[in-house]
């Protein structure tokens, strides 16, 4: 896996204050389990995303640990409460120095 990859965020750009918003975060990643062998019998080393976090105006609102059982190109769907206008920063960190960052804006009225 390369050091970074494409990611996608789907969430509303506007929301009413204190309403619940759904966020979808997908990352392009092979999620190589470390249990597979190549055709010449060598073990393919584990290469997975280890941690996903979401920060809402600097405050962490969601965190997930990833394990080898999670499939390739993992999609995470979670919710949070729209408390204020601002920026949500999404970060994926994984093996081999992998890191991907994405962000989205929200206007809360």
């Amino acid at each position: 896996m390369s050091k970074t990859s494409r990611t996608g965020i789907t969430m509303p750009t506007q929301a009413k204050k204190d309403s619940i918003i759904e966020i979808r975060a997908i990352a392009q990643h092979d999620m190589e389990t470390g249990y597979r062998y190549s055709e010449d019998g060598r073990r393919i080393p584990r290469d997975i995303i280890r941690l996903f976090t979401c920060q809402y105006n600097g405050e962490e609102v969601f965190r997930a640990d990833f394990y080898p059982g999670i499939g390739a190109n993992p999609l995470i769907i979670f919710t949070t409460v729209a408390v204020a206008s601002g920026t949500l920063v999404f970060k994926w960190v994984g093996d081999g120095g992998y890191e991907a960052v994405n962000q989205a804006q929200i206007t809360v009225s």
Partner: protein, 261 residues
């Protein structure tokens, strides 16, 4: 009296069977054709339809990057000839495989042909990320357009050969493509429905594979399933079988990039 009724029923059943039998041997009639999209769960259908959920879109984006990237000794990109956006490629995927300079060429084969002749670059390996990305990018330009394979004087021989492969028993299980995907389409194999085998969405993101794959990978899957010697990637046999399948699905809209379970 009872015997008479029984005999009449038997006759009816016999007539029905007689009526049904020949149609099994014929190719699936045009109206009844169905993309395997219809057999998927609503969740998987949503995954294909929603660009924010379809993982294949990553390959489309990668393909677009490769499209604009200069390569080879001639230092030209695909975009140098075919335009930045790729929109000029609309409809191209619906016309492949086709005979080019006397040789039956698949879409993947044509991309590699372009690479060697126009860019003076190395060919991309089958199922490599680069070739899948480029193929997906080109194929997606034809999304929604009907498959436009016609029988012509040039492709007639290849089409016939492809049809023969489709109907030919192979492997230790001694099964032909047609026995499952024509005669028994809609019935079950294990827990899953047998699709009609129309290649309407390739390259596909197959959830089982956890990645994109070409039609040839899918065909090799089936061949190993019936314990047959698999056709080689990029071989003429593959192209002929692909051609026949695309001809069989002519008129059906292309869904690329599809998601399959």
């Amino acid at each position: 009296m009872n015997l008479l009724v029984f005999c009449c029923r038997l006759l009816v059943v016999w007539i029905v069977l007689l009526g049904a039998k020949p149609s099994l041997a014929l190719e699936v009639s045009k109206g009844a054709r169905q993309s395997s999209y219809q057999l998927m769960t609503p969740e998987n259908q949503a995954m294909q339809d929603d660009p924010n959920l379809n993982p294949a879109l990553f390959w489309v984006m990668d393909g677009h990057s490769l499209w604009k990237e200069k390569a080879g000794k001639k230092n030209v990109s695909c975009a140098s000839c075919h335009g930045e956006s790729g929109q000029k490629m609309a409809g191209v995927a619906t016309r492949f495989p086709r005979v080019q300079k006397g040789k039956l060429q698949t879409l993947e084969g044509q991309i590699n042909q372009c690479r060697t002749s126009k860019q003076d670059a190395s060919t991309l390996a089958y199922e490599s990320k680069g070739l899948l990305a480029l193929t997906t990018f080109v194929a997606t330009q034809s999304k929604g357009l009907p498959i436009a394979i016609q029988e012509t004087a040039q492709n007639r021989k290849d089409l016939q050969q492809g049809r023969q492969f489709f109907n030919q028993r192979m492997g230790q299980l001694n099964l032909s493509c047609a026995q499952c995907h024509q005669d028994r389409a809609g019935l079950k194999l294990g827990g899953s429905l047998i699709p009609q085998g129309h290649p309407t969405a390739y390259p596909i993101y197959r959830i089982e594979w956890q990645t994109m794959g070409s039609l040839q990978r899918r065909l090799r899957n089936c061949m190993s399933g019936v314990r047959a010697q698999q056709f080689e990637y990029g071989s003429l046999e593959m192209a002929q079988l692909e051609l026949y399948l695309m001809w069989r699905a002519r008129g059906m809209p292309l869904e690329s990039p599809g998601v399959r379970p």
